[in-house]
């Protein structure tokens, strides 16, 4: 089966006062139909920008996709007209944003915000769209749909608002959902509910999911595959279990060590990723992670390691084999 989404050598840049920021600097990945792919990275690593680029939602100016290919269901996204692009947005690809409070319009009812998508993409009249909206609220586990549809976002809890966002995203039976840190703004207990809901929905509706997160626990539990981003590039890519247990990039390894785990002794110190993410306006020719990397050697300063490896587990590190061994020994 051909992949649903192919991202090939994508470059997205922002022209800022401080200079040119290469937020996404040549990343490639694929998403198969029905598959859940995680994109992991720190704030500013370009993970959200890479996802927004797929929908061509980068505000221009200052941002611009300068290079690369995005193919969705066989179609070249970069070549679509604005009207065709609108059909893809909300129609074939649904989007769930990070902050459900600010991502929903405060002055429109929940019902209006759901039905307008249906009216736009499905040409439904108000009554049909309303019936579908009631159905959708049931699907995302919101009781008393008729009453909720008349309410405004501020009258709902955070978890419920995120359920509404999900209902909006799945409204038109998309083939792909992009969720940009869907649980970051929520309480921990609610986070699990939302993730379970998304997992169940993607399986039931057979829709692919790109989940952007910095939470590796989420990755391990919900993703089939994972792409780790650092400074606008992919540094590691592979099946979730593989990457989780045998990281081949020092950054991934550091990320894994920085997460508290219940299966480790309580006395064990957490190991945060030392240092700051690099300034994207002043990247040199070498590996961007080098200043924070305890494995760095001379060659790391001279050129960027390519993303390579055996099978489908790839890493962009000159010393990935040694690292994998060490990580294996530590585990």
């Amino acid at each position: 089966m051909p992949p649903l989404l192919v991202v090939n050598d994508l470059h997205t840049e922002f022209r800022t006062g401080a200079g040119l920021v290469r937020a996404v600097d040549g990343i490639s990945y694929t998403v198969d139909p029905g598959e859940t792919v995680a994109i992991v990275g720190e704030s500013g690593s370009g993970k959200s920008v890479s996802a927004l680029s797929v929908l061509r939602l980068i505000p221009d100016p200052p941002g611009r996709i300068t290079q690369g290919e995005i193919r969705f269901a066989g179609r070249d996204i970069m070549q679509l007209t604005d009207a065709e692009m609108r059909e893809v947005r909300g129609g074939d690809i649904g989007m769930v944003f990070q902050e459900p409070m600010t991502s929903l319009n405060p002055v429109l009812t929940i019902g209006r915000q759901i039905t307008e998508t249906l009216e736009q993409h499905r040409g439904m009249d108000r009554a049909a769209a309303h019936r579908r909206a009631v159905e959708l609220l049931g699907l995302v586990g919101i009781a008393d749909a008729e009453r909720r549809l008349k309410q405004y976002p501020h009258q709902l809890s955070g978890g419920m608002r995120q359920r509404i966002m999900i209902a909006m995203a799945v409204a038109c039976d998309p083939k792909l959902i992009i969720a940009d840190e869907p649980t970051t703004a929520l309480d921990v207990t609610i986070q699990a509910q939302i993730l379970e809901l998304m997992k169940e929905l993607t399986r039931r509706l057979n829709v692919a999911l790109i989940i952007i997160t910095h939470n590796l626990g989420v990755v391990a539990r919900y993703a089939n595959r994972v792409n780790v981003m650092y400074a606008g590039r992919l540094v590691e890519s592979g099946p979730a279990a593989e990457v989780y247990h045998n990281p081949r990039h020092p950054y991934t390894m550091a990320l894994l060590r920085s997460v508290p785990r219940l299966d480790r002794p309580r006395q064990e110190r957490l190991d945060p990723v030392e240092g700051q993410p690099p300034d994207l306006t002043r990247l040199d020719a070498g590996c961007a992670f080098r200043p924070r990397c305890r494995f760095a050697v001379d060659v790391c300063a001279m050129k960027r390691p390519p993303l390579e490896g055996t099978g489908n587990h790839l890493a962009a590190c000159f010393r990935s084999h040694e690292i994998e061994r060490e990580a294996g020994a530590a585990a």
Partner: protein
């Protein structure tokens, strides 16, 4: 919602009483005496007893507190007394002059909204393009240009143009006719002054629309609307504009209230017999009753337009409506 309205309406009363006390005291702090002006303006001598008689006639011999209470009571029972200068009922003095001022203010508001909202929105959508620059230049011009100067220029312009075309300059009518009786005659009187003050008004509202719109366009929910694939018209009209209008409504409301009392100069320039002019005369003559009534009218209009603004807020923003 009803609680919200009730709270707003009830707040009107303390505001009015506070304003009444203020104007009452301030008027009596101004040196001078209307009876001196009335009797002595001819320049001749007069009997000092005549001053006392005059005071007794218009009620200035009563204790201040009695004067104040009768003023406040009169206000709430819609009996505003008689003008201390002309002897005619204050309500009559005001009502003959209010329509033209009110009409100019309303017309200017309509003009301002019609100009400000579309242009401000376009300006924000086309930020930093030539359209934006033109709109912003117009707006700065509107704020920087005194309306009396614009008034004089526009009168001279009309006179010159009509003179060149027909040989005789066209003059706007001097006496006021209601719009329903003779719309053309009415509008030919009110239109120029309305444009003159409306330009400044539009400029202020336009800048507010632009900046509010720019802010709203950066909001997450606009990105959501776009991510849903909505057409741009819906994104702007339904999602952005409704949010951006909140601060614009405030500006329009405040400016409107300001116009009623603030048309003094414009009325002078266009030779209109409106409220603004009456105000100046009343203060010059030390006509307490008329000045008090005019101030209270202005305050009432201020309070009322603020009330309208608050209600518009509730209508536009469910967070206020359901709070």
């Amino acid at each position: 919602m009803y609680q919200y309205i009730a709270k707003r309406v009830l707040l009107v009363f303390p505001t009015l009483i506070g304003a009444a006390a203020l104007v009452f005291i301030l008027m009596r702090l101004i040196p001078g005496d209307i009876c001196l002006v009335r009797l002595g303006s001819g320049g001749g001598s007069f009997d000092p007893h005549a001053i006392d008689l005059c005071h007794a006639e218009i009620g200035l011999d009563r204790p201040l507190i009695v004067q104040f209470l009768s003023f406040v009571w009169g206000f709430f029972s819609f009996d505003f007394g008689v003008s201390m200068w002309s002897g005619k009922p204050v309500s009559l003095e005001i009502l003959t002059r209010l329509p033209i001022s009110l009409e100019i203010a309303l017309l200017a508001t309509v003009i301002a909204i019609l100009i400000a909202v579309p242009l401000g929105t376009i300006s924000a959508l086309k930020q930093n393009t030539w359209i934006d620059v033109v709109v912003r230049t117009l707006a700065i011009g509107g704020i920087a240009t005194p309306s009396f100067w614009l008034g004089i220029i526009s009168i001279m312009f009309v006179l010159d143009i009509t003179n060149a075309i027909s040989g005789t300059p066209w003059m706007p009518p001097i006496d006021y006719v209601p719009i329903w009786r003779d719309p053309i005659r009415n509008l030919s009187m009110a239109f120029l002054p309305a444009i003159t003050v409306g330009y400044r008004y539009a400029a202020v509202s336009m800048r507010m629309t632009r900046s509010a719109m720019l802010e709203v366009l950066r909001e997450d929910y606009i990105r959501t609307a776009r991510a849903k694939g909505l057409i741009e018209k819906i994104v702007i009209n339904r999602h952005a504009l409704k949010n951006a209008l909140l601060p614009v409504v405030t500006v329009i409301g405040i400016e409107f209230a300001f116009l009623i009392g603030g048309l003094v100069v414009t009325e002078q320039v266009f030779n209109l017999n409106g409220i603004g002019r009456l105000f100046v005369q009343a203060v010059q003559n030390q006509d307490y009753t008329l000045t008090q009534a005019l101030v209270m009218l202005t305050v009432a209009i201020f309070v009322f337009s603020n009330l309208i603004v608050d209600l518009m807020y509730a209508w536009l923003d469910p967070r206020i409506r359901f709070a």
